[in-house]
Subunit: 96 residues, 2 copies
């Protein structure tokens, strides 16, 4: 199991719209092969920042299975225009 | 419940020593009032990077209860010399 982590900075004023759109978009990611669970949490210090965590069975379930899928195109269309700057995504291994 | 998040960049070559020291240091944080759980995960893309997550009952359990305690002095002495740059710590609210 691996954890995908992205700090999402959303354009000012678009926070509520992003949150509502994410409620729809999360159905996409939840349906993918290798998906285990996810969470979206809002930063207490920065009103436009969110932490997205997604647990995947393997790294490739995210980097290939999801990112090269037609579902990813929908995900991008729904969400990517909210981000500024575009987020860096990293992956983390099991709990030490 | 809130989540403390810190991306920890450890000095090159000190990764194993940091991991071993953290095994001791985690006993400190686990004993604090308001502590719920924690995890330390190693980054797959960057060998010197770790993700620390700590769940606390309230923000103040971390920012006051822990950071103003004598136990925090021990935590600092054990761990802070490993970090470069010194990490930014943020807090995130409940799952949206």
């Amino acid at each position: 199991m691996i954890t995908e982590i992205a700090i999402l900075d959303v354009k000012k004023g678009q926070e509520k719209s992003f949150e509502n759109t994410f409620k729809e978009a999360q159905k996409i990611i939840s349906s993918m092969n290798g998906y285990i669970s996810h969470s979206l949490q809002k930063c207490l210090e920065n009103n436009s920042r969110y932490l997205l965590r997604v647990e995947w069975e393997t790294l490739e379930d995210h980097t290939i299975g999801f990112r090269e899928s037609s579902e990813y195109k929908q995900w991008k269309e729904l969400l990517h225009h909210y981000y500024e700057p575009f987020p860096t995504v990293e992956h983390y291994g099991k709990n030490l």
